[in-house]
């Protein structure tokens, strides 16, 4: 008997979007079930329903063979379901330890043994996070680790994870894999969502593929290849992007001299040519994001010279943008989107242009973005709060696809984006470079970096420790450089 089963679960959002049309899914104990599907296929919606965070508009759930309706998240939690949602809802003002133990019983705010418990959980995840740090001060990857630890803290029968590794790299990712396997071996059920097909094939026992709100493939993993899964997701064969040697870089476009900030261990000098794509490889906390934020002047303490096309640029975000620099930040909820705005107004957010709002032009730009990036939405007026995670991510990229942009800084641009769209976005980035843009892209997906970049800078402990030509570089070398040890758990 499966632990949890969904029978004909359907979901129609109030705006008319049908996210799920009759889903049947069984999640048995002791098994790792992977839920995959393209952006907007309905995965997060299904998870929200299974965890009591949303109520289906049709169908039913069975928990241990009994029909149940989780009316609130606590109901699911009490039944034994721990969930890590895609947009990690942690309490930013509480400490890491308090977030992890957030629904522990008892009266005293801190109890004996708390510290040890938290330290043990974090160690299990290989996460080097100070239990007393304020969660609001952590980067997105660390927050992901805290959310996983919080789910492990309760003794759950079923652990659900919505893209737990989207912002993790190297050994942190491997640690999550290890934990997932452990949980299954202890006889618990794990249901996880991921866009990394290699991860799914290695890790899961069972794969369920969602497409447009329906299950199109529900089979044992051993019987499947990555291509089968990808095919089921997209309904067509899809072509992975291959590395391409790119000829003839132009003049230096972005020049960085003596860029220093307390967030980095040493000043950075960097030059990126017209048409060049520079990759930043590094683990969580290695300084990837810090470097990009410093170049963009989003880090107010950054000093040093930044120039575009030989012209020095002033030390404020406004001046950097005016000079044609653009940053797609990693934390799309915190730093990217204005949730109350629709797609159109989010895309039109960057400064520039006239004083009056030009509805028609904005609508056209948004429609173009929806088209170019294949954003799954009803139209330019769709609220971004109603988009799936991957589609919201595309909106943050779309904002900067304008002729004015000369230097594009991308921090994890493909986090949460499905494989089909991912290669589209990589192609798009390459196209932009071909048109002369200088591009710096940070990614924890090293394979992706190697496909895309001309040159890779490796960061470790907040400093650049190596600069390599991407041609001839392989993933293992990169992992060794970035983290010191190859990930064992990933069985590569």
């Amino acid at each position: 008997m499966p632990l949890l089963s969904a029978r004909g679960v359907a979901m129609r959002y109030p705006n008319g979007t049908v996210a799920l049309r009759g889903v049947d899914l069984d999640v048995p104990a002791g098994r790792v079930t992977a839920l995959v599907g393209a952006n907007g296929a309905g995965k997060s919606t299904l998870i929200r329903i299974l965890s009591g965070a949303a109520r289906p508009t049709g169908g039913s759930l069975e928990w241990l063979g009994q029909a149940t309706a989780f009316r609130r998240p606590v109901d699911a939690r009490r039944a034994g379901i721990a969930t890590i949602h895609q947009h990690i809802p942690l309490v930013p003002t509480l400490s890491v330890a308090e977030n992890i133990l957030i629904d522990r019983g008892g009266i005293a705010r801190t109890q004996a043994g708390d510290r040890e418990a938290v330290a043990a959980l974090l160690a299990r995840l290989d996460a080097r996070i100070d239990p007393d740090a304020r969660v609001g001060d952590l980067g997105i990857g660390d927050r992901q680790a805290v959310a996983i630890a919080a789910a492990l803290a309760v003794d759950a029968k079923l652990v659900i994870m919505d893209e737990p590794t989207a912002s993790l790299a190297g050994h942190e990712r491997a640690a999550v894999y290890r934990v997932i396997r452990q949980l299954a071996d202890e006889g618990r059920a794990v249901l996880f969502i991921s866009h990394f097909l290699d991860e799914i094939v290695r890790l899961s026992d069972w794969v369920a593929v969602l497409r447009d709100g329906g299950i199109v493939l529900d089979a044992e993993t051993d019987a499947l290849t990555e291509a089968d899964i990808a095919g089921a997701m997209a309904g067509r064969q899809f072509v992975a992007l291959a590395r391409r040697e790119r000829a003839g870089m132009g003049e230096p476009r972005l020049t960085v001299e003596g860029l220093a900030t307390p967030a980095l261990a040493e000043p950075v000098n960097l030059s990126v040519a017209r048409g060049e794509i520079v990759g930043l490889a590094g683990l969580l906390g290695s300084g990837r994001s810090e470097l990009l934020h410093a170049i963009f002047a989003a880090d107010r303490h950054a000093t040093g010279l930044v120039g575009v096309d030989g012209e020095p640029v002033g030390r404020s975000v406004e001046e950097r943008i005016a000079a044609g620099i653009a940053l797609v930040a990693e934390d799309r909820v915190g730093q990217g989107l204005v949730p109350a705005f629709d797609i159109r107004r989010n895309v039109a957010l960057p400064v520039g242009g006239g004083w009056l709002v030009d509805d028609e032009a904005e609508r056209a730009a948004a429609a173009r973005a929806i088209e170019t990036l294949a954003i799954k939405a009803q139209g330019p007026e769709t609220a971004v709060a109603e988009l799936s995670g991957g589609n919201a991510q595309k909106v943050t990229i779309a904002r900067w696809l304008r002729p004015h942009t000369r230097v594009l800084l991308l921090d994890e641009p493909t986090a949460g984006i499905d494989i089909g769209a991912r290669s589209e976005i990589l192609r798009l980035i390459r196209g932009l470079a071909d048109e002369g843009m200088a591009i710096v892209v940070a990614s924890s997906d090293f394979a992706e970096l190697l496909v895309l970049a001309d040159r890779v800078l490796v960061l470790r402990d907040k400093r650049i420790i190596a600069s390599r030509d991407a041609a001839g570089l392989d993933e293992d070398t990169l992992i060794l450089l970035a983290g010191g040890s190859a990930p064992q758990g990933s069985a590569s």
């Binding site: 109030p14 705006n15 008319g16 963009f296 989003a298 975000v317 406004e318 950097r320 943008i321 005016a322 940053l327 930040a329 915190g334 730093q335 990217g336 989107l337 204005v338 949730p339 109350a340 705005f341 107004r345 039109a348 957010l349 960057p350 400064v351 520039g352 242009g353 006239g354 004083w355 009056l356 709002v357 609508r363 009803q378 139209g379 007026e381 769709t382 904002r399």
Partner: protein
């Protein structure tokens, strides 16, 4: 977006609830007045009177809405208005009314700047800072007036004040023409057969029809108190700036997600401080109008009005968390509050019940369209 949803969104309780609440309240009062054999409720005199009474709160409410949109809060407006009133009355005999008016406005804007700078540059919570200025500025008024009422005796100044506050502006033609123009725009939009904005178009047409009917019903001699005209102009300008200009967009973005706005190149601090300056300026203007009303003020003038202003904004659906709000709806919220007070007066109900009923109606009105809105979403 499918049309049905556009309709539901624009005319649902959440979006349009405050208009329904005002209409319902007026209908109830009109019936009650008729049942009690009182003079007709919907008379030009009575309605103009409500608008006149609501105008000061409305003016401050418009600026308060902008402050709330940026995610902040301003409790000091009533004290600032009182200070501006004291400045106007105190200085008018000395430097003349026009200069004194400028000084009053500058005082308001200056305190707004101080509020904004402390909140944003030092980083103290707006609630605490403006609670502080509320008390301190009121204290300053006490010091300046020596705790006594101030009064203007100079007849030229009094005349100028009356001209500033008491004149009536002919409103028949402006109202009629504006209404007709809006109708024409609506028809034009209809002819262009754009699918988008059908709901907006209907809203525009309804508004236009109301204006035309009001003008015709009031007759060609119709004139508005100039304070109401100030309110209308300020509201229209603010509404246009907020909805049609990039500056307005940035106020919303600043409150909606300050970090995203900053990374898009918006000078978030400037917008936040700017909102406080506007709020101080509006309070200064309201204070000047208040002082001119009687040519006199006492040091406790307008005490507690800041809560009415905030209540109007909240009734109008402005979010306390920033990023959302409409100045037009705030003004409608102010009208609801003053319609209630006015209802008590014309129905001659015991003043002792007034607070109780007013408070209840505010909560019920807010609840109806919040809950109603949520139902609509869950359906």
């Amino acid at each position: 977006m499918s049309d049905a949803i556009g309709w539901r969104r624009s005319f649902g309780l959440r979006e349009a609830g405050v208009y329904y609440a005002l209409a319902l309240l007026m209908a109830v009062l009109a019936l009650a007045a008729a049942a009690n054999g009182l003079p007709p409720y919907f008379s030009t005199g009575n309605l103009t009177n409500i608008a006149y009474q609501a105008s000061l709160v409305g003016i401050m409410g418009v600026a308060m809405t902008i402050v709330l949109i940026t995610g902040a809060f301003d409790l000091s407006v009533a004290s600032v208005a009182a200070l501006a009133a004291a400045v106007l009355i105190g200085l008018s005999p000395v430097i003349g009314f026009p200069l004194a008016l400028v000084a009053a406005l500058a005082t308001g804007a200056g305190i707004g700047l101080v509020n904004g700078a402390i909140v944003n540059l030092i980083g103290i919570n707006a609630f605490i800072v403006t609670l502080g200025t509320l008390t301190a500025v009121r204290g300053l008024v006490m010091v300046l007036t020596d705790g006594r009422s101030l009064m203007v005796e100079d007849p030229t100044v009094l005349a100028q004040m009356l001209a500033f506050e008491r004149t009536r502006v002919p409103a028949f033609w402006p109202l009629l023409l504006l209404g007709l123009a809006a109708l024409a725009v609506g028809v034009g939009m209809m002819l262009r057969r754009r699918r988008q904005g059908r709901a907006l178009r209907l809203g525009l047409m309804i508004g236009a029809a109301v204006m035309v009917i009001a003008a015709l019903a009031a007759g060609p001699g119709f004139a508005l108190p100039v304070t109401v005209a100030y309110l209308l102009v300020i509201t229209a300008v603010a509404a246009l700036v907020l909805s049609r200009t990039v500056v307005g967009r940035r106020f919303y973005a600043t409150g909606g997600n300050a970090e995203a706005a900053r990374l898009s190149g918006i000078d978030v601090t400037a917008y936040k401080i700017g909102a406080f300056v506007l709020s101080g300026l509006a309070a200064g203007f309201a204070g000047a109008l208040f002082a001119s009303r009687l040519g006199a003020m006492n040091p406790t003038a307008l005490q507690g009005t800041e809560l009415t202003v905030i209540a109007a904004a909240i009734l109008g659906g402005t979010s306390l968390f920033g990023g959302a709000g409409s100045v037009v709806k705030t003004v409608v919220g102010a009208l609801i509050l003053f319609t209630l007070t006015n209802g008590f007066n014309i129905l001659n109900l015991g003043a002792s019940y007034q607070g109780l009923v007013e408070g209840t109606v505010v909560i019920v009105a807010a609840a109806i369209y919040t809950v109603g809105g949520r139902r609509g979403v869950a359906a």
